[in-house]
Amino acid sequence: MAWVHTWAGLTFGWLLFAIFLTGTLSYFKNEITQWAQPEITPHEVSSADGVNRAQQWLGENAPDAKRWFIRLPDERSPELGVSWSPAKGGFEEQPLDSLTGTAVKARESMGGEFFYRFHFQLQMPYPWGRWLASLAAMVMFVALISGIITHKKIFKEFFTFRPRKGQRTWLDGHNAVAVLVLPFHLMITYSSLVIFMTMIMPLSILTTYGKNTQGFFDDLFPAFKTAPASPDRAPLASIAPMLDVAADKWPGSRVGLITVNNPGSANASVTLTRHGADHIPHEPGTALVFDGVSGELKNESNMGAASLMLAGGLYGLHMGHFAAPLLRWLYFLAGIGGTAMIGTGLVIWLGKRRLKHAKAGVLPFELRLVEMLNVASMSGLMLAVVSFFWANRLLPVSFTGRSDWEVRAFFCVWGVALLHAFARVFFRDGRSAWREQLTVAASLYCLLPVLDMATAGGYLLASLKQGNLTLAALDLTALATGVFLAWGAFRFRGQGKTVIASKLAPAVQEAR
């Protein structure tokens, strides 16, 4: 079992580190988007006013669309989000100001959506990224369980931490953080497989439904079965009264996504789903369907069946849409714990093998390769993430294609970090690679609040005046990250010859 844990962890550790780090950031996806588009400000608006403004805007700007989607502003997203599928195909979206109902001129940016997409698509073409992420999830599952089997004294190890003992400290840290957030790790890994189950384990759909696989989804989500638009035209009923019906049907739960099928046609329909923040399970199939012309409730469906609640519950726990601020921070910390567990594991793998070569003082090629990838995948990724935020503030607001350039900045910096790690690890030593990258990353994170103040200080101050702490919280989190990375860089100072192999060898053998 230790063998599986060691090698599954090494081969997928780099990828899993990136998946965990970006996934952790995704718990603040909407907040990162707020920071990335500070032009969009929150207002107190009733849902009826909001939906009326969205309906009017879409009626003027996308009357021929096949479908409209409306998302009302909430405590995490200030914009009134409208999107639509144009008749000619494709997908368009536009944030609206919730007070005026006009298009907001916000800077183009993917914001938190970028990290969220990367988390499960890995910037690869569909569906390869999702498959690779799913494979990594399965490997994570195996590594977790084999890790639990390997460490039998799990309770005792949790209370064991011996600082400043080199390899021993890393192992204690790895165990402590793994056990501390073990329920999170198990939930997050298993649920990630459940989220993609129709893609990665679809054979039971085929054997049950035959060629008509759409039948499966129609059974699950009857509210989303749509007919083609009828050629007869009829004005769309007002959506606002439908929200009142939903409030009666779903006490204590707001409406999340509003979908209008075939707007303007005689067979238009309006589908309302529940807001994900108001309950744990992900229930895309719990919906109310209204006649789009008469405005009457036509149909309702729910996903109350036990098996759907199990799958939807795991899905919902993974996404954490329901988490209020305190719980959201706990999610974030648990995510950091998972990321740290993977990072410490990678460091231990190398440290253990490095000891054998301590006397010769020269690492063989394969260990250097691992060290290079360790540096690039961890400190390099931290650099790439902060570069995304810097690019967001430094690229001119009206620059065309700036959203793509933010993403390019992320990958270019990551690539440069890889080259730097290569040069340092192969032509100097790994410590200098860590030290230099961590130093640069620490400065960039620490200076992010300064940059924000200098380039978008007006938005920051206005948001604080409104009592909205989101922008400031991101700046402060960046600062804290910078301080942590500076501490890391400080630990890599000097030549690193102070640790003698013979002092560590017993600890490592014991750990084995």
Partner: protein
């Protein structure tokens, strides 16, 4: 937990680690075979389990399929662990293919009879 019995039974792995660091071709192939058994054999067993569950669970069609898919990963996990815990690579394959064949026969039989 069965951890103790599992970690003791790994003679092949013990042989593979002579202090000289040399690893024989045979051992490399055995490890590769176990990895493939885990990936492909494990998937086969998992998929067949989900197919049988979807067929036999006394639930509405879509619900049975959802539950079958949800639970299937709980089969994949021990299947993978088995591939690295059992004595030889051959046994890894056998331990997955045998139950797969049984599940396939049960499913085919039910389809043929019903």
């Amino acid at each position: 937990m069965e951890a103790a019995s599992v970690s003791v039974r790994a003679p092949e792995k013990r042989q593979r680690k002579p202090r000289s660091g040399a690893i024989s071709m045979r051992a490399r192939l055995a490890v590769a075979s176990r990895v493939f058994a885990a990936l492909i054999g494990g998937y086969l067993l998992t998929a067949l389990t989900s197919i049988c569950l979807a067929q036999f669970l006394p639930l509405a069609r879509a619900e049975a399929v959802v539950l079958a898919m949800t639970l299937s990963f709980l089969v994949y996990l021990p299947a993978v662990l088995w591939c690295f815990a059992c004595g030889t690579a051959w046994r890894a394959w056998l331990g997955l293919l045998l139950p797969s064949a049984v599940l396939a026969a049960i499913y085919a039989g039910a389809r043929w009879l019903l």
